[in-house]
Amino acid sequence: AQSVTQLDSQVPVFEEAPVELRCNYSSSVSVYLFWYVQYPNQGLQLLLKYLSGSTLVESINGFEAEFNKSQTSFHLRKPSVHISDTAEYFCAVIQGGGSYIPTFGRGTSLIVHP
């Protein structure tokens, strides 16, 4: 069975500082990896995804994540955060060739201070 671990429940950071949100997964087969963002009182929105090909994927708002198969990780990074990045971030995995039901991590609350 697949599982997703987000070690940090909360990450406080100052505006314009870099940030990394960690995500590790466990699966014995190929996976598709995702980061979703949930702004206050809203549903989940896809931030970026890794399906195949280049292990570095980017979002339109400056986030990037790198798929590391040997470390079974998919950490999310941004070199300079904004106040508007304050939100809950969820890492998710879909097992290739399986049920296609995503499994989510517990979420990391990114809090950007001015």
Partner: protein
């Protein structure tokens, strides 16, 4: 992509009553799911809504408590029955896209049971 309309967006209900949440998708989708997101926690899969047959429930969730309907490929309902304060949560409708490589979410229903 898929656009999901979920309603109500929020409700406050008396214990012992039931609430039905509706999920409408703008395109036909094979896979539709219902998740629960308790305060400060990640998403927990309640069930897979199957068109034309009974929903498939995850461990810890039963049909008597969470009856689900899926009359066609674009619509589903989740009922939270005989509610107690422990049912206070956000309930999210989700679908997996045609390529089975991304999950889309409704805005969620924020339920408070008093």
């Amino acid at each position: 992509s898929a656009v999901i309309s979920q309603k109500p967006s929020r409700d406050i209900c008396q214990r012992g009553t039931s609430l039905t949440i509706q999920c409408q998708v703008d395109s036909q989708v094979t896979m539709m799911f219902w998740y629960r997101q308790q305060p400060g926690q990640s998403l927990t899969l309640i069930a897979t809504a199957n068109q034309g047959s009974e929903a498939t429930y995850e461990s810890g969730f039963v049909i008597d408590k969470f009856p689900i309907s899926r009359p066609n490929l674009t619509f589903s309902t989740l009922t939270v029955s005989n509610m107690s304060p422990e049912d206070s949560s956000i309930y999210l409708c989700s679908v997996v896209g045609q390529a089975n490589t991304e999950a889309f979410f409704g805005q969620g229903t924020r339920l408070t049971v008093v």
